[in-house]
């Protein structure tokens, strides 16, 4: 199982769609992407994880890295999480720090 990233830059938001397994081997690639996306200074950063099948602690750390990198003014959305990925987010408590949605609806 591999890992894929695709990025869509909208006017206000950047959407990063993840698929496959986000483990320690895949995490650096995502981190690089996040750094690039952050450079464009979007108002909202959206991770579409609906096609993501697994996320390890290293993967979770990239999401936290993204949150820290973007700063307090940027809201972070995690869209379409389910199964093991949703479990990882809730059991680690990370769901308190982001906006979890089934489908993307910007809050403001």
């Amino acid at each position: 199982m591999g890992f894929d990233i695709s990025v869509t830059q909208g006017s206000d938001e950047a959407t990063v769609k993840l698929s496959g397994e986000l483990d320690a081997a895949a995490a650096p690639k995502l981190k690089e992407t996040v750094e690039k996306v952050a450079g464009a200074k979007p108002k909202r950063l959206v991770f579409d994880v609906s096609a993501l099948e697994f996320m390890a602690s290293a993967g979770l750390r990239v999401l936290i890295f993204a949150k820290q990198k973007m700063g307090a003014g940027v809201s972070l959305y995690v869209i379409g999480s389910k199964g093991p990925v949703l479990n990882t987010l809730t059991m680690s408590g990370f769901h308190h720090s982001v906006i979890l949605q089934d489908t993307y609806k910007p809050l403001e």
Partner: protein, 729 residues
Amino acid sequence: MQGIDIQPTHEYQGYKIRPGRPFPFGASVVPGGVNFSVFSRSANYCVLVIFERGAAKPLVEIPFRGMFAKAFTEEPVWGEFRIGDVFNMTVLGLDHEAIEYGFRMDDGRPKAKRGKPAIHRFDPSIVLLDPYARAIGGRDVWGRAPDWNAPFPHRSRVVFDDYDWEGDRPLEIPLEDLVIYEMHVRGFTRHPSSGIDGAEAGTFSAMREKIPYLKELGVNCVELMPIYEFDEFENSRWDEDHKRWAKMNFWGYSTIGFFSPKAGYASTGRMNDGTMVADELKSLVKELHRNGIEIILDVVFNHTAEGNEYGPTISYRGIDNSTYYMLTPEGYYYNFSGTGNTLNCNNPIVRDMVVDALRYWASQYHIDGFRFDLASILSRDPWGGPMANPPLLEALAFDPILGKCKLIAEAWDAGGLYQVGSFPAYGRWAEWNGKFRDTIRRFLKGDPGETGAMSQAILGSPQLYQGRGPTASINFVTCHDGFNLADLVSYNDKHNEANLEDNRDGANDNASWNCGWEGPTDDPSILALRQRQMKNAISMLLVSQGVPMILMGDEFGQSKLGNNNTYGLDAEINWLDWTLQEANQNFHRFVSKMIAFRLAHPVLRSRDFFHHADPAGYGYSDISWHGVRAWQPDWGGRAIAFMLCGNYAKGGTVPDDFIYVALNMHWDALPFELPRLPDGFLWRVFANTGMQAPEDAFDPGSEPELAEQSGCLAGGRSVVILVGRSTAQ
């Protein structure tokens, strides 16, 4: 800027390695790979064994000394990766999430035989757990039967030591302001009535969801029974008739690894990812802190799960038996813990390990304090003799990283050392006050002549802790050991048959009283008396100086059916039954009102002992004693009353009300004459356990005026609590 120590120097079976860093011990993620470091004074042979996660067979076994290939050139080259008594090596290119590891060690001498005494117990056929493992695999989901024949059952894992704390830090609530709730992580939410679904029940994350309940109850500190990795299957017994485990190690007082949270307590345990388990516990701590609740860990440093000469070799004994354990000159294990072995805590190596572990929990997990199981063992020298100035206890008391952590001793051990009041404290250590418990219990059941001892308990036990202050006294009526509150008033004798030890286990002397019938009854008068006795006990606990501790389940009056030693039961009697919150709502309400009362009144929470004096000339001393006649205590009977002058709250630094408490443990009602308040002050009734709910306790601040200000009637076996406030307020 990149360091210059990331290039390999040697190669072994395709793995690129280089000399490691001896500090810190254990496995740490370093740039480019993982650093491994392990101590053994006596091993002359050590091998690092790396597994793919969960695999039975190792990926590779890399010796710390021997022939290697030179990195890049592949010429044969000798290598030795050791500094002093520490083997250390960095393996480059390892995915820290994907591996588990252990060590093999030997000293080249004949192996010790099982059951026979021995100074060393090296056995190179065994893969040993790292004593500094930050996470341990093998018991990842609670109660999932393991492979009993697994050659490496407890598997060291690597944890990435970071976490998004979002500004969290330990709360540093003054000790005197704590109300501690002693609880068991699994027992808290395992019961179906907890409302937590399936696999998440009984975990750290389930506990996090229940924080609002703790907040509503009003406690500001939780003390978790052991959460270091242990084996719930230690001495387990399967009940074929009922297809269940009749016995397990439920409590967990048997440590496997001092640096690792119990994976089976994490809902993420089943993901087999040590960092995830750590994250789950850290997010529980963060959320507790956000809600103003501290977290204290009950830590077991007196022994390990390796048992005696017949026990399994998991880690310590296969690494350096005579360093980690107290041994007789012949090589038998000293047994001051009552469980087979005794950790050699005042050996400098072991002492450092204990300090390292606690620093790790304080800094990496933001733990607010520690309660040390059988802490008197920590004051023994390597031959078992008690020391006047035990280096470990001193080191902990003065440790800079632990500087604001609460340090609480269970000031006795199973070898006969009883140090309540005399534990080497260095101005830092508090103690579980077993004498407080015994006094309250005897007074509660109506023993005559306990009023003098009761006054000591109420004052924070100055006879025990003079020079240390009331915060040295952790007050409790019940704890995990012994009867819980409901059983204290429902049973004269223990009923431990369910523990499968023919009722021989557990304490025989419980100072309990069944109120007229042994065990469950429908008799309304007995039930009412029991309810009142429970309220009396909670009242006495919460109006005493010192630090109160309440046992999980006691706030609901949950029974354990007379079992006073439920360590081995993963069953309903050990699971908090949430339906009782509703069923026993009157009692639950009383407990939370009493907690609120304590927190509303600083005069109940002094840092220093009262002086029985009125240095500022208010006309009232800080504390005064009374009987049925004001100012005339009867030190020989079953009733006593006292008054606190709010002007002396916290040494006179904060204002408070007058508080008057009448404790009548006589079976007859007694009229208490009240001391006169200053002009313009009135007595109000906060609580009267002789009344039915809701008249048994009021919200602090909305207490009704006492009709007759000169006296009050305390019913038989009842507590009356009054507050005296100015009518101008």
